[in-house]
Subunit: 248 residues, 2 copies
């Protein structure tokens, strides 16, 4: 898994307009894009497969309960016993499913992350330009956070930046989120939409950072009132700024 990521990295950084093949031809671009989508959608899969139906149900109940409790109390203050009780099982049963509280906490966001990416993959099907895809991606992610606020609280306010997510599946999934943006920025540069004079990583940082910032602010203070609208406006504005930049 880590190898795949590294290989990915090596393929991408060039991004000079001169770079041949990768994302130039419409067909080639489509393939690389589909490959990336496949990768980020397939990554968030859990390892352990449960054998019995009863068990699958229990697992769902644990995940639901955990999300509620973690979102309400925070990871550090949340008690395993509370989660187990809320899931309707005994504390020790929970340990049959997750070997520690940390493990559980890092597993909870993954399913929703996969659901978001799946939603995006469907919605993006009829978009062809990098600009359209990027706009959809960013606005959808703000909207998804609004719709699933409990999940977003957990992910954005507790897990996203945390050091200790390093070297876990979740960290890879989170990095994938930025990876998509970086890919699309490079694609947009190849398409001539944005200036090639700027580092795509820097551009991606502005986009992802700005969006995160208003999302976190919304989660903490419910300001701006309407996150979806604010997200749309922000994305529209940032993309417009990037285009204007090219003309300078």
């Amino acid at each position: 898994m880590y190898l795949r990521e590294l290989r990915m990295e090596r393929n991408m950084p060039g991004a000079h307009p001169s770079a041949e093949g990768a994302v130039d031809a419409p067909a080639g671009a489509g393939d690389a894009w589909q490959d990336l989508l496949d990768m980020v959608v397939s990554r968030p899969k859990r390892g352990t497969e449960r054998k019995q139906d009863r068990s699958k149900r229990t697992e769902q109940q644990i995940l639901n309960a955990a999300m509620r409790v973690f979102a309400r109390d925070g990871i550090s203050r949340a008690r395993i016993a509370d989660i187990a009780a809320e899931a309707g099982i005994s504390t020790s049963t929970l340990y049959e499913y997750y070997k520690s509280k940390e493990d559980l906490a890092y597993d909870v966001p993954i399913l929703h992350l996969a659901a978001f990416l799946e939603e995006f993959r469907e919605a993006v099907a009829d978009k062809t330009t990098a600009r359209d895809r990027l706009q959809l991606y960013l606005t959808m992610s703000a909207d998804y956070a609004r719709e699933h606020a409990e999940w977003a609280r957990l992910l954005y306010l507790e897990i996203w930046p945390s050091v200790f997510v390093s070297e876990t599946d979740l960290r890879h999934s989170i990095d994938d989120f930025s990876r998509v943006v970086i890919f699309l920025v490079k694609q947009g540069i190849a398409e001539g939409t944005w200036s090639a004079r700027h580092d795509p990583y820097e551009t991606a940082a502005i986009l992802v950072g700005g969006l995160n910032q208003i999302t976190v602010t919304w989660l903490l203070y419910r300001k701006p009132r309407n996150l979806t609208k604010a997200g749309n406006e922000l994305v529209e504005r940032m993309l417009k700024m990037l285009e204007t930049e090219a003309e300078t």
Copy 2:
């Protein structure tokens, strides 16, 4: 303290170019700016004053030890006993200074935050335009994170977004960080540097968010290699983009 903040809020949000007085006249602007600086510099003061010298030394040792251990192990995995040992005191003595681990964790970043603001206040003295001040503020903050990486790990990767910093002194201090940016953006609008057609909060979100993003990436992966340089470039670019926006 909370009252003062609210009053501040009420003064600021208007920000239409028509708003009179607040940040229009050079003199008035200077005063509002100095007031803001005074406020954000004075906020990070700890309540409890220790009586004996020995005690002040112990407190320092605790804070130093805590920063090391928290940065190394993360807040949740760090053990009070380890911190106490590293500080050369017994566990129970530590509880004379901080009533809980959480309390300690939230107190650690405050001193450095105050130091940064103090540094900034001195450095900004000879800057007169909102643009120059903003540029200095943002680049200095990236540089400060690089210089004090342990502190930055704690603040950016563990505390900044966390829900549970709500309602604490630290939260106010962190909010102050953005407040300065918002203030300067509004001032820049009043000075005609940036377009008045955009929400200053949105503009601030882009600036703060983008900078945070590369800082966090650097803390996690040491990429970009040179944070100071990358921060300077990013800030330069973002400010240029904002100016270009006005001409559209």
